[in-house]
Amino acid sequence: MHPPFSLIFFFLTAGTSIGLFIFVYFIEFLKLFGKGQGLPKEVVLLSGVISLVLIGAGAIGASFHLGHKLRAWKAIRRFRTSWLSREAVFSGAYGFTLLIYLVLKYFEISPFFEHFFGILTWILGVLSGFSTAMIYASNKFVLEWNTGITVIYYLLMYLMLGSSAFTILSYYYNLTYTGTFLFLTFLFVSLGFGFRLAFNIRQFYIKRPTLNEALNLPHNRPIRVIDRGSTTENFCTKEFYYEKGKQMLPTFIPLAYLLTFVIPLFLLIYVWITGIINQYLLWIIYLSVLVGSAIERWCFFVEGNHVQNLFYGLYPEEGYKLRKGFMERKETRISLYG
């Protein structure tokens, strides 16, 4: 699949925005039950404004992959059936309730409504991330994406971005949560690492359809594409098969792993062992996760193989398990003695 850069941008901004708010409000929520000391008002407001600006920027950025940006509001119509519609509704509602929460927090009008909108924003943020992940995970024609791992990993990335961003905030305001959030960042990055590995390993075990299945022909007949209907590329070959990306994938996947998981985990262990915490280290951790996630998202799109590529002979076969019943081609044997 061709990676749309506007969607990668949306992922980064929405991920940091929602991830950050999840942790900020969670600390505030715990205070209701007498657990922890909560956060200073200015930290909540600052992180809230960052979240609001980022989700706004993300929404504007995401609209760049649309053909008609001004019609984007119509995307709320099919909430009942479309995950994209749900994402649009939840993301918009998340931004709106976040704004209300911040206003209530700033003027300290009513603690009840403040927490009511806080909880609502928190839930909408999680639902927004879940809906975005489900757009990919519910697509049963891109078998790499069509798994629960996609959703879990997507939400973990939000938490990775959020916790590493909150650690910086906590460090600047000299809060008591820095150590906790270093651990949480380590936890989410480790879990993310595991799920990303599972996502990659799973690709070798997917039972893939064959061209014979696409054309509804017997499985034992070798078949090959002679002509694709046009001499040049078309929308389908460009959108569903990014040739240049496929060539770059062997370089970019290790790079994504390195930046998203290996470097942050190494730095987090270094901070733990040496006890040295400074803003540069924390910024490097966050930026490494951020840049790594961007590359990882790019890889996620390029790794996806749409089944329509079968008709063009662009669907992977080698290195993957073939479906039961597929008979391999006979070997051609050349013998001098008949």
């Binding site: 053909g67 008609h68 019609r71 594409v225 209907g229 040049t232 389908c236 329509q308 008709f311």
Partner: protein, 253 residues
């Protein structure tokens, strides 16, 4: 519920691309047009087509068969492209089962194309909307056209008469009978899309020539000249007059 669809006979399709060309020609100027083109006379022409013809080779050399597969929107009865559309621009008509895109509502998110396992939707970079086969809905209901012309452009143009159009749910229709008689099949039956467009399979035609050997008129057949005399009266009289009998065989092409 009626379900209009195309039925394509792969046995007679010669892969001439006339259906694709005429589809483009009609739709680029009709109600759903234009279908944008880029660099149309240059090195890499590219554009939106509702219909594309693929060619496949089946079997192993020397026992191979080549067949052509014209592929346009299959107007699936459980169309996966319809529920994913966030605006409702992509919809399936109840009265005839045709899947259409409302260009005024389409935001160009391309999610419907992602959800189509057949790759039958194409994004128009100029109009910024998703486009697809309409089964020539602007022709089939046009009462100003003579009744025999109220068919999709691809069906009317096919020189091999390999394309049929009709209601596949109507037992009296030609397409229904063809599907039943020739065991019509669909593409990707496992995907749960239940496509409406059907394909009629290729039939292997084998003739055992040994059986017909005795009927074949060959110069070494002892009855060769006798057969010629009986069936071509002029031949016998003319040959008797002009040339000696033993040279008849040499004159044959």
């Amino acid at each position: 519920m009626p379900q209009f669809a195309l039925v394509i006979d792969l046995n007679t399709c010669v892969g001439c691309h006339a259906c694709a060309t005429n589809c483009k020609e009609w739709n680029t100027q009709a109600a759903f047009g234009p279908l944008s083109d880029f660099d149309p006379f240059g090195r890499a022409p590219e554009g939106v087509w509702y219909n594309r013809v693929f060619t496949y080779e089946m079997g192993e050399f020397p026992e191979t068969q080549v067949f052509h597969l014209p592929k346009s929107c299959l107007h699936c009865q459980d169309a996966p492209c319809v529920p994913v559309c966030p605006t409702g621009a992509s919809y399936k008509r109840e009265q005839d089962g045709i899947v259409l895109v409302n260009y005024d509502d389409c935001i160009g998110c391309k999610l419907c194309a992602w959800s189509c396992p057949y790759g039958c939707r194409e994004y128009d970079e100029v109009d910024k909307v998703m486009k697809k086969c309409t089964l020539c809905i602007d022709r089939i209901y046009d009462e100003t056209l003579p009744p025999e012309h109220r068919k999709p452009a691809c069906v009317l143009t096919c020189p091999a008469r390999a394309r049929f159009f009709g209601d596949i749910e109507d037992p009296n229709s030609e397409v229904y009978k063809l599907i039943k008689k020739r065991q019509g099949f669909v593409l990707f039956p496992d995907m749960g899309t239940n496509p409406a467009n059907h394909y009629l399979p290729r039939q292997e035609t084998t003739i055992n020539l040994e059986e017909y050997e005795k009927h074949i008129l060959k110069p070494d057949n002892p009855l060769f000249l006798e057969v010629l005399r009986r069936h071509k009266p002029g031949f016998a009289s003319k040959s008797k007059q002009e040339q000696p009998q033993e040279h008849y065989a040499e004159q044959l092409p």
